[in-house]
């Protein structure tokens, strides 16, 4: 497969995936046990609605038409950037998402920075001192980091740093001080994953011929490690970090609840409990599309950055 063909093939499969994503997102509302219109009305008014009220509401939402027609309408609106509006506040879903997005992005970026700041030095040291104490300690630390529920870590941080030491606020948003604890809570789990990755990647590179070559030329060990090995080890790390977006989003939902940050996660969970389906569908769609686009970009960047990658060989 030439690289143009590969680009076309990947774009095509991404398109297929997006169509599937839209069907699933649209279909979510029909997973509701019973009649969605009735369920929503009960939720809104807190009492069993009359038959006429349900009929009227169903017509208002367009739920009385055949499902394929509803889907076609929904997709048409979505493609025009219209995600509908909330059942409760009548505000546009896009507006709600844009309002809650900055808090989540802020948290995600801060967590990524913390994760990399911990993971890269630890992973490199661990690989260079393979089998020594520092390696064992860091690997054990990474294992514990992966095993820790991040919402519990969040509470631990609150108890120690907010309640006892009174260094940071307990919850909410505001300046940088509100960001520190949630970012640590979210970033630690990611740091654990990335540390293992950096270590594996470094170990692979250290064993390669060109590193031995650099060594046998008599180069200083530090230059060998940090100039020759580290640079080459970084490529797979960068791409996988790109793919950690899903991990960040998964974690952000829970962390936002722990620290009561008004981000996308809190918006999503509130909408789920309120059965505010346009909001749920909008957020799920935005997240999935971002995710597909990121994966495509990482995949294409990867093949471009490292010409040794056999095109198409990674899809199996």
């Amino acid at each position: 497969m030439s690289s143009t063909q590969y680009l076309l093939y990947r774009s095509f499969t991404s398109l297929v995936v997006l169509v599937g994503v839209s069907v699933i997102t649209f279909g979510l509302i029909h997973l509701t046990p019973g009649d969605p219109a009735k369920t929503i009305l009960i939720q809104q008014t807190d009492q069993p609605p009359t038959e006429e009220a349900v009929e009227a509401f169903r017509a208002e939402l367009g739920l009385d038409r055949p499902i394929p027609v509803q889907y076609a309408d929904w997709v048409t609106d979505v493609l025009q950037g219209d995600l509908g509006s909330s059942y409760y506040s009548d505000r546009a879903v896009t507006e709600l998402i844009l309002q809650h997005l900055p808090a989540t992005i802020e948290l995600a970026v801060a967590a990524m920075v913390i994760a990399l700041a911990i993971a890269i030095p630890t992973g490199v040291l661990s690989a260079v001192h393979r089998g020594e104490e520092i390696d064992i300690v860091s690997q054990l630390g990474a294992l514990i980091g992966v095993s820790m529920p991040n919402f519990w870590l969040g509470y631990l941080l609150i108890i120690v740093f907010a309640l006892y030491l009174d260094l940071f606020p307990v919850a909410g948003t505001g300046g940088l001080s509100h960001l520190v604890l949630p970012a640590i809570a979210l970033g630690t789990g990611m740091a654990a994953i990335v540390t293992r990755l950096v270590r594996t990647s470094m170990l692979e590179v250290i064993d390669r011929g060109y590193v031995d070559m650099a060594r046998s030329k008599g180069l200083d060990e530090r230059i060998v490690i940090y100039k020759h090995a580290f640079r080459n080890a970084l490529l797979p790390v960068i791409t996988v970090v790109g793919l950690q977006l899903g991990f960040v989003l998964n974690g952000a939902v829970v962390i936002e609840i722990v620290f009561q940050r008004p981000g996308l996660g809190v918006l999503l969970v509130d909408a789920i409990f309120a059965r505010d389906y346009p909001v749920v569908q909008g957020i799920v769609l935005v997240i999935a599309v971002t995710f597909v686009a990121t994966n495509l970009a990482v995949d294409l960047a990867y093949t471009r950055l490292d010409p040794r990658i056999e095109i198409g060989g990674r899809s199996t």
Binding site: I24, P149, W152
Partner: protein
């Protein structure tokens, strides 16, 4: 171990014994894996026998004993309703391990069936099934599970359904690629030529080669399911109060962080130890049974 002669001549029983021996040797030489196995074994015993050994009711409220700090009578303290936290942790082990086993079992079954079919039949069916996997992977796992469970309605059963739907794709991929690599081997071609029917070919000749990787992933997966179940219950979608489920207990402790730190920390430690146990054991199993596989399961 997967040449045609050996597989034809050994019974599943003998193969099972051989696998156990390999695992046993690994546990004896790898202290971390042994630690994991011990944690998992202890948890299993606690989950099965614990409730029978404890006379207290996990939901019994003793309002006169609210928010008692850890003591001899209440080693992990009491919560805001005067319930003994240790008792609730012990009962919670049943929920966590039971759900983890059930969800992982369904995932393994779904994923193995899809992977076998995709890998063996190939062609259009393969392409369609793999696109289905891609579509599923387009959603961050926990978020999809969250939405599915939320739409179905908050309950432990719905959380199990949601997590089972979300997590089978890893198995499908692994089984498929394993089948693809085995399918073209001579012994499978030979078996086909001799006229062995397809279902027998799949179960006797292709399935044995996927057992080890699936076993490794499933062990690691048990830990992630424990985390995800606790997370969804924490959000309020899974177990509902007064169920003694670890994630629910953590959520209930939120209001008492300052006065009663033990309410959130006891279930937090319980979850961490459980996941750590499965991770240590899973890493050990991989070294023993499937050393070529380097990728870890980081999905939900």
């Amino acid at each position: 171990m997967s040449t045609v002669d050996e597989i034809e001549q050994t019974t599943p029983w003998e193969r099972g014994v051989a696998t156990l021996l390999t695992v046993w040797r690994e546990l004896r030489s790898n202290p971390l894996a042994l630690a994991g196995a011990i944690i998992v074994a202890v948890l299993g015993v606690v989950a099965i026998l614990g409730p029978a050994l404890i006379s207290q009711d996990p939901t019994a409220q003793q309002l006169g004993y609210r928010l008692q700090s850890p003591s001899l009578a209440h080693p992990f303290g009491t919560d805001h309703l005067g319930r003994d936290v240790l008792t609730r942790i012990v009962y919670g082990a049943r929920y966590s391990l039971g759900i983890a086993l059930a969800v992982t079992g369904i995932r393994v079954f779904l994923g193995t069936v899809v992977g076998l079919i995709a890998g063996y039949v190939g062609g259009f069916i393969d392409e369609a099934l793999m696109r289905l996997v891609d579509i599923q992977l387009a959603f961050p796992g926990l978020i999809l599970a969250l939405v599915v469970a939320g739409v179905l309605g908050p309950s432990l059963r719905n959380v199990m359904i949601a997590l089972a739907i979300v997590g089978w794709t890893t198995y499908a991929r692994v089984v498929r690629s394993e089948v693809l690599s085995v399918r073209e081997r001579e012994y499978v071609a030979a078996a086909r030529l001799v006229g062995i029917p397809t279902h027998r070919l799949l179960t006797r000749h292709l399935l044995p080669s996927v057992v080890n990787p699936v076993l490794v992933i499933a062990t690691l997966n048990l830990g992630t399911v424990v985390l995800a179940t606790a997370g969804l219950s924490f959000i309020g979608l899974g177990a509902q109060p007064p169920t003694p489920e670890w994630g629910t207990m953590l959520a209930e402790g939120r209001a008492y962080l300052r006065r009663a730190w033990w309410i959130v920390n006891a279930p937090g430690i319980a979850i961490m130890l459980t996941v750590l146990g499965f991770n240590l054991l899973g890493d050990g199993l991989r070294d023993a049974l499937d050393p070529t596989q380097q990728t870890r399961v980081e999905e939900v």
